[in-house]
Every structure is written in C-alpha cells, then in structure tokens.
C-alpha cells in the first residue's frame, strides 16, 4: 500500500531522517515510536508533502508521492492529523469537516457566487456525508460551535473527523492522545478501532503512549535520531535490546 524507501532528510547538517524504509499493508495499523526528536513527525511531513526529502521515494499504491505539493498528496488519498491541533479555529465543527471534503466537492468560483443548482446540490450531498462522520465520532452536541471554544480532547476528535471526511486511503495520526486524560485516551482508542473495523482504512500512528501503541498496533517501528532501530510486532519490539538502549540508555556491563 504505502512504501517508504530509504528516505533521507536533513536540515543544514541535522539529519532528521537518515535512511528510513518501511511499508504499510492494506488494513494494517503501523506505529512509529521513538524518543523526542527522533524524526517521527518528519516522516509524516515527508509523506504528506510538507517536507521534500533529499533522497528516497514514497509511493502510495504505486503512485509516486515524493516532492508533490501537500494538496496533491491529499487528493491522492493521504489524510493526517497533527501533533498540535491544527484546526481552523474560527470555523465551526461542521465547517471544519466540510473542509475535509474540499476536493470531493466539485464546483467552481462562478457557480459558488451564483449559488444555484450545482453548488447547492453539491453542498447538500457533502453535508450529508459530514453528518455521518458527526454521528460516527459522536460530535453532535458541538456541531455548530467554533472549534476554538471546544475542550482539547474534543478538538483532537474533530481533527480525526476532518481527516476521515477526506475519505482517505491512508490515515496518518500524529500523537492522537497526547496530553489527554485516561478517559479521553480510551475514547480515542475506541474511535481508532472503530475506524479500522468499520472503514478499514490503513493507519500510521505516531504516539508516546506505549500502552496504546502496544494494544492497537499490528507492527511497530522504533526510530532514534532519524535511524530505524527495529521493526516488528509489539511483543518483539518490546524485548529488543537496541530499543531498550534507545529509550533507557546504555546498560552497564555487569
């Protein structure tokens, strides 16, 4: 499904990603973990077109994504959420979700100004899709509120909804439960499982909450300083000595 091949990205000498490769299969939930500054979010930024890597290739179903503009990558079916909520603060929940539908809604500027026939039909059809997502993520009570006024946990959920509204082929979740309390984390985990089961969208998950990662992920990749340390099932990775070293430091020889 997604192939990430030997990607290298550096910022003036700092190697953010140094030769990372992985693949994500259909219906797979692939997790990327690693200490702070390991390059996890950079991997997401390379996939979604925000950064352009110096070396390597990213392909989705055989289509080359490398170096494409973010909006092109989005149109090809990659949706993402952000580590720090990047919602459109002044728009309502509904409008934010409608923005996720942006490239599914087809009419031009002149049709928009006239607001007859086509524009109205398209808006209504896509509004119905958005209402389905509102139901799916249980956002009904906040639909009409500007996102900026909502609690943090709900904002994170709206962001997931906005990504789902894009009807993506691949979903990138950047720390979906960062800064959440236990209850909010459990809610989010439930929604992630629902997305898998009901929508069957493959996901890449970046997360520091190890409990969540180990419970949800099919495979886990550990990166440290932009270098892949280990890839495998959660159980394999947990006992890998290189991973322990990356997280806990060198073990003194006894």
């Amino acid at each position: 499904m997604l192939r990430f091949e030997d990607v290298r990205l550096s910022f003036a000498g700092v190697k953010a990603i140094d030769g990372v490769s992985f693949t994500v299969a259909k219906d797979e939930l692939f997790a990327v973990i690693g200490p702070n500054g390991a390059g996890k979010t950079s991997i997401f930024n390379v996939i979604s077109g925000v950064y352009r890597p110096q070396h390597g290739r990213v392909t989705l179903d055989g289509t080359d994504l490398t170096g494409l503009r973010p909006d092109k990558v989005a149109k090809l079916g990659v949706a993402r959420t952000f580590q720090n909520v990047e919602l459109f603060q002044h728009l309502t929940v509904l409008e934010n979700l409608m923005l996720g539908r942006h490239h599914h809604i087809r009419y031009g500027t002149l049709a928009a100004i006239a607001w007859l026939g086509r524009a109205r039909r398209e808006e209504i059809a896509n509004r119905a899709v958005v209402e389905d997502i509102v139901d799916f993520l249980e956002l009904a009570q906040w639909r009409r509120l500007p996102v900026g006024l909502l609690p943090y946990g709900v904002q994170k959920r709206v962001e997931l909804g906005r990504a789902l509204a894009m009807e993506p082929k691949l979903l990138l979740l950047d720390e979906p439960v960062a800064g959440m309390n236990l209850e909010e984390t459990e809610d989010m985990a439930r929604f992630i499982l629902d997305v898998r089961e009901e929508l069957g969208i493959p996901m890449i998950l970046v997360e520091h909450d190890m409990g969540l990662v180990m419970d949800l992920a099919d495979r886990v990749m550990v990166v440290d300083f932009g270098v892949p340390v280990a890839t495998g099932t959660p159980a394999e990775v947990q006992h890998n000595p290189d991973v322990l070293r990356a997280y806990l430091g060198e073990v003194e020889a006894a």
């Binding site: 503009r69 909006d71 990047e86 459109f88 928009a112 100004i113 398209e122 808006e123 894009m166």
Partner: protein
C-alpha cells in the same frame, strides 16, 4: 412544526442566508427603506449615501482578500484606480482632451472595469503565494506608489494631477442615468443604481463566503499549512481571492466618482487604501455586513461631524478657527480605529452580535 421556528427539516433550510424570520423581516425593512430613500431625503444627502453604497462594494472586495483569506492588502487604491480609469476611458467623450471611446452603456464599462482590475489582481497574486503577513502588506503598498506615479504622469488618460477628468456618465440599455427627467432627478437615479449594485455585490459575496471557495479562504487565513494538507491548493485560492477582490475594487472604482462628476489622479493614494482597511476593521473583518457598515460609517462620518458644532458651540465649522470640525474628524477617525482594535476587534458586527445575544437572553444575563 409551526411552533418550532428554529427546527430545520432539510439541509436546504439550513443553508438559507436568511434562516430566521427576524432576519427576513429586518432585511425586508432595510431594503424597503433603501428603495424609499430617494423620496425621503434631499438630493445632496442622497448623493452621499449613493457614494457610501459604492464604497461598500469596494470594502466588501477588500474584505474578501483581507478579512476572509487573511492576505493583508494595502494596494486596494491601486485596483480602484484601474477600475476608475478603465471605465472612464471606455465611456469617455471621444472628442475630449483625455482618452475616450464613447461607449456609455454601463453593462459594458462596469464589467470591463471589474475584469481589467481582476486581471491586475491575478498578476499580483503570485506575490501573495510567496510572502505573507507584513511582507505582503509592504509589497502591496509598493503597488499604490507605482500606480500613483503612473497615473500622475499619464495625463492623456487621467488628465494629470490638479486637472483630472470626468468619470463615466452611465446609460442603462439606452436610458440616460446621468441627467434628471420628469420622473427622477439625476441623483435619485444614480442612488438607485448604486443601491441595486450593492445588493447584488453583497449577495454574491455572501454566496462565495458560504461555498467551498469561501471555506478554503478562511482555512488559509487560520492555518495555511493545515489547509494545504486538507487538499486546498494555496496558490490557486490566493489567486482567486485577489482576483475576486480586485473585481469588486474595479467595479467600485468605476462608480465612485460618477456622482461627483470629476476625479483627480492624486485621489488614489495610500490614504485611500488605509481608509478601506479602516472600514473593514471598524465594520468587522470577515463579514459582508460588517464591511457595509464600516463603509457607511467612514463615508458618512464627515457629514455627521458637520452637525457637531450645532450641539457643541465651541467647535467651529470654519477651517480657519480652532478647534474646528475638520480637526475633530481627523482625531475621531484615529480614535475609532484604536478603540475598535482594543475593545471590539470584531468591529460593528461584533457589537451587533453582543446586542443580539443580550436581548435574546433578556432579562437574564445568560
């Protein structure tokens, strides 16, 4: 469902612009007053209100690029000038000193003025895709100075500073709007023309704002990186914003001086751009009704201040004495901007929202 006026049973109802009875009534009354106004007030004041309508079209235009799409443009005077001179040249007297082609039909010169200005806007837009915030503001500021220089020197088109030229004299499908007749005076005709154009412009802007294009504009304003990741082509939508905004500016520029019957190239200076910025700040950035309110306030302010000396005798109406009404106007103008920025950044529109919410809950505080 008769007893639940706010219950919506279709998306169509919810997408309506006038979605409550009170909005329908209010807009109906406003329109009725607007249409009846020519028979209620004297022609001199009517001309000023007509000017306010045209100014409002220009302010709506600036609000599209600055209020909705968040691209601060100080170059609005440049696009107003392009519209004004395109229209004046197309409709101008072919035998006069300045360029003129003698096509007085408003259905030709008004869209032409808009389209030429929009093309200029589209040419400028690549700057906005490279720069943002203050840098873009400074570059658009440059446009005003370059444009100002060109129109000051190009006297075969503009008549030159201090001399100027005539604005277009409109006819609509052969009906002369520029002279009075048995039914309506000149000022009454022009006012009605401008009122109708303002209603069309405002409606078009509202439609644009609630569409996918308008949502893309606000997305770019709030978070441009996230907007890109959501599939919004930033360059494309910034170009559309500049194009539409300049179209409005071009149309407004073409009509601005029709009432007065004369205009001078030195009018299109930085101060004019700043006035338009002030209108949308005071009225409420990112709302159509705010832009209209702001435009009316700024246009009618000088006229209102002329009335002050009759209440406060120590303020003089003569520019020779101090303090006089002209000084008061300048001071008030600055004070208004500061007060609004500090106390109500949402402008007059925000005050309206607060009033509305207060009376909705009255007599309880929430």
């Amino acid at each position: 469902m008769r007893n639940r006026p706010l219950l919506r049973t279709s998306y169509n109802q919810e997408l309506a612009l006038l979605d409550t009875t009170s909005k329908k009534v209010a807009v109906g009354i406003l329109l009725a007053v607007g249409v009846a106004l020519p028979w209620l007030v004297e022609d001199q004041l009517l001309q000023l209100i007509g000017l306010a309508c045209v100014t409002a079209i220009g302010a709506i235009g600036l609000n599209i690029v600055t209020g909705y799409a968040g691209q601060v443009s100080l170059g609005h005077a440049f696009f107003l000038a392009i519209g004004a001179y395109t229209a004046a040249a197309i409709a101008g007297d072919p035998d006069a000193r300045t360029i003129g082609f003698g096509v007085r039909e408003i259905l030709i010169w008004l869209p032409a003025a808009g389209v030429v200005a929009a093309l200029a806007g589209v040419l400028v837009a690549p700057l906005a895709t490279r720069l943002r915030g203050l840098y873009l503001a400074i570059v658009t500021l440059g446009l005003v100075f370059i444009g100002g220089h060109v129109i000051n020197e190009w006297s075969s088109l503009t008549g030159g500073p201090g001399i100027g030229r005539q604005p277009p004299a409109p006819t609509l499908l052969g009906y002369d709007l520029n002279t009075g007749d048995a039914f309506l005076t000149r000022d009454q005709k022009l006012y009605l023309l401008m009122l109708v154009l303002l209603v069309i412009a405002a409606l078009a802007a509202r439609n644009l704002a609630r569409s996918r294009v308008g949502r893309a504009f606000t997305a770019i304003r709030d978070r441009d990186i996230a907007a890109g990741v959501m599939g919004v082509n930033l360059a494309r939508y910034k170009t559309i914003a500049f194009g539409v905004s300049s179209f409005y500016a071009g149309c407004a520029g073409a009509l601005l001086y029709v009432g007065i019957g004369y205009f001078d190239p030195t009018t299109f200076n930085l101060l004019l751009s700043v006035q338009y910025i002030a209108m949308i700040l005071i009225g409420g950035a990112g709302t159509v009704s705010g832009a209209v309110l702001g435009a009316f306030l700024i246009t009618l302010l000088p006229r209102l201040i002329r009335e002050v000396p009759s209440f406060l005798p120590f303020i003089s109406n003569s520019p020779a004495e101090s303090p006089n009404a002209y000084q008061l106007e300048t001071v008030l103008y600055g004070v208004l901007i500061i007060v609004f920025l500090i106390f109500e950044p949402r402008g007059l529109f925000g005050i309206w929202i607060r009033l509305r919410n207060y009376w909705k809950a009255w007599p309880f505080s929430y």
